[in-house]
Symmetry: C2
Subunit: 449 residues, 2 copies
């Protein structure tokens, strides 16, 4: 029988989705497996965490995105492993056979062996992470408003962001705006602009992947906006009410009720599963070390792309875990599959770096495009333009644009909501604790008498 | 000392919020207490549950709404009871003294003594309810797509809405649109328009509070759009996989994995707490039976308004639990407080019914305004106009309008997302079960071979 080649893609992120879309007219049967029903526009996720956008503004159902692609189907399921001998993907219950496999399962955050820190220092990967972080930020100001003891108030108004990469910088910048502008006049007992925002970076400068000049510019802008930057500093302990910072052998304990984690990245456990199945080696971050053609050594039928892949065949060090790498790899794999159809050997992947932009806050960003480096208003406009045009659905562009304009003009934020499962009885233990803790702090409400 | 009169308002819904705003220029100190940080525009909540709007589009932070009102402060806390002797509101930890108390704590849903049904038949009151219902609706179609056994597929594609009031009608109409239009071509194994949507009503007609003619019109429209209406029928049992319906002594068990509860309303437990504290009597729904001036008998300093109040001094039967009643009562109480300042006695409340509109779906609604009754396109436009203008923030109007226009033109929905705490490890037992259950159903994914 002339069965069409079955291409199974794991992960609906940038890599997997762009691979699927590029295969639109190929004579293959594409199956995109994800445990989420939506593609998430990660680069703007921090704006959900800081109440500027709603989740739906940056998330698009995978089925809708592939609705018109008749050779593609979406399977909402969780992949647990691989049976490479029989060419099957193993689901929690069931299997899916493949002729060609594209693994684009992405990465999560890395707590360097201290996973218990996560409950006190959430990281930002999913929509739930974003709404949880948003909840904590607002709840912290609310807790400070009702607290009576000055130390308690100070610890509620202290925010520690761990990690000085783009995400850390973006969150720190937004937090400064929330404290200094958005919440202005909204509280009666506290002044939100008293908030202390610490950006902790282990390396000697923030945005270490950027040219030193831009790091400097970013640091200056953040400082001007009231963010304290602590470089050359590690987090040695995270607790419910404080963070322990250590510079060299100096150690300081900072009382802080809100800690956000943007340091270290760890590849999806599917990387390990793939290593167990194929014997391929992983790098320190658990990423799969792939061949120049993006395949797994000895398995020309298995591709690994995106944050899960460690591609070190260009200038030695692995490519960064950014959207444009995943997109280019996804498209490359799709093209390889098409050409291979016609019997060609697989071409090597070459990454074309289109540049990098990190946003610092309203009207401020730093950009590196080819040999050009620039900062400020122009960089910010370029950032906004790129992040609008890369949205996959016109509707999302529209919604994001409307809210950006509105927020920019009014200096407000659309989505500063606390939502948890409290009322419906679904309180997560941790929310419960947090909520309870600050109710306890309350005591007699100050200033009522 | 010349202490200003302390007005404490419990609840940031329509009643409490409009009371607070109307007191803007009064020489009083207003404290608005809510356990949520936002006011929710309830009338559009069903659109969040059906993926048409995002939570933030219809929710506004209370602090922002009262930010410019210098005599008002917001306290995010949970009220547990009242100490009327010492004129104090008791919080879970702490107390707030008052001179005048306005209780507007609202109502929740009523399972008629079968609260355990809630896990299988969630109701729609909070943002969390809405996103949970949205999740279940989408997850049901996903589960049907991956299921192999025809009976399982059918039970996943059967949706039962309990309660034929406005909310039930709105949800049923939206569900029909989702199944017949929104999800068209998005699935490969199932046809979403095979979905069976049952609207179960215990009375002899849907929208029983409307004139029979409009109920008839609504029923016809829903039927045309593929909703099965079952009147004169009660739900006698709800389980994880089926609902038991009983008409008279006939009993039928309907396999259905998605059941939504819009029947019965039960007043907030604070009604009971108030009864314990003041000896005021409650009606069958647990609502506080108040005096013509909206106060609690024997307590001229305590007002009860909105869904929590049972006001039966107009044509005998209590006023319905709708936004316009709460708004008018909130404003009335504020005026009473102002005039009382000047030593007048409290005026009685009179409700001016401005009419009722229930929306059935795109371009279809039924309306009753004074002696006029109309249905269809015109009624729908009136509905849209009213629900836009009653939004408290311009921004919300803007966001809702943009999405309505977009959804209307494209027949799509902006926010069809599954979001739960699965990935972040916060799975609620019930989501876990549901998710697990359908993963188990999966088996070998059909049609892959």
């Amino acid at each position: 029988m002339n069965q069409k080649e079955r291409v199974v893609i794991i992960g609906g992120g940038f890599g997997g989705l762009y691979a699927a879309k590029r295969l639109k007219h190929a004579p293959v049967e594409v199956t995109l497996i994800d445990r989420r029903n939506h593609h998430l526009f990660q680069p703007l996720l921090y704006q959900v965490a800081t109440g500027e956008l709603s989740p739906a503004d940056i998330a698009s159902p995978l089925r809708r995105l592939l609705k018109t692609q008749r050779n593609a189907r979406v399977l909402l399921a969780e992949v647990t492993g691989f049976d490479v001998a029989n060419q099957q993907v193993i689901l929690r219950n069931g299997t899916v056979p493949y002729d060609t496999l594209i693994v684009a399962a992405g990465a999560g955050n890395h707590y360097f062996g201290n996973d218990h820190w996560q409950q006190w220092a959430p990281s930002l990967k999913t929509v739930e992470d974003a709404t949880e972080i948003r909840r904590r930020i607002i709840a912290a100001f609310e807790a400070a408003e009702v607290a009576s003891d000055p130390d308690t108030i100070r610890s509620w108004l202290t925010f520690v962001i761990v990690g000085g990469g783009p995400t850390g910088v973006e969150i720190a910048g937004s937090l400064a705006e929330i404290a200094r502008e958005t919440l202005k006049n909204e509280f009666r007992s506290i002044n939100p602009s008293d908030a202390r925002i610490l950006l902790v970076q282990s390396r000697d400068r923030i945005l270490p992947t950027y040219p030193p000049g831009l790091s400097e510019k970013a640091a200056q802008t953040l400082a001007k906006r009231g963010v304290e930057i602590v470089t050359g500093t590690r987090v040695s302990e995270v607790g419910p009410q404080d963070v322990t910072l250590s510079y060299g052998d100096e150690v300081e304990m900072v009382p802080a009720r809100t800690v956000l984690w943007t340091a270290g990245v760890k590849a999806s456990p599917l990387g390990q599963a793939l290593a167990d199945a194929t014997g391929v080696s992983l790098d320190r971050g658990g990423r799969v070390e792939i061949e120049p053609d993006l395949t797994v050594s000895g398995h020309p039928e298995i591709f690994v792309i995106g944050d899960l892949a460690s591609f070190a065949h260009q200038d030695g060090k692995p490519l960064p875990g950014v959207a444009q790498v995943a997109i280019q790899q996804g498209q490359h794999v799709a093209e390889s599959i098409k050409t291979r159809e016609r019997g060609h050997r697989l071409p090597d992947f070459r990454y074309r770096d289109k540049g990098n932009i990190a946003v610092i806050g309203r009207g401020a960003a730093v950009a590196e495009v080819g040999r050009f480096r620039f900062a400020g208003w122009l960089a910010w406009q370029l950032w906004a333009y790129i992040h609008l045009t890369y949205q996959l659905e016109i509707e999302n562009r529209l919604l994001v644009l409307v809210q950006w304009l509105w927020n920019f003009i009014t200096r407000s934020r659309s989505a500063l909501l606390i939502t948890d499962r409290q009322e419906t009885g679904f309180t997560t233990p941790e929310i419960g604790d947090q909520r309870r803790r600050w109710i306890y702090d309350t005591g007699l409400w100050p200033r009522v008498e």
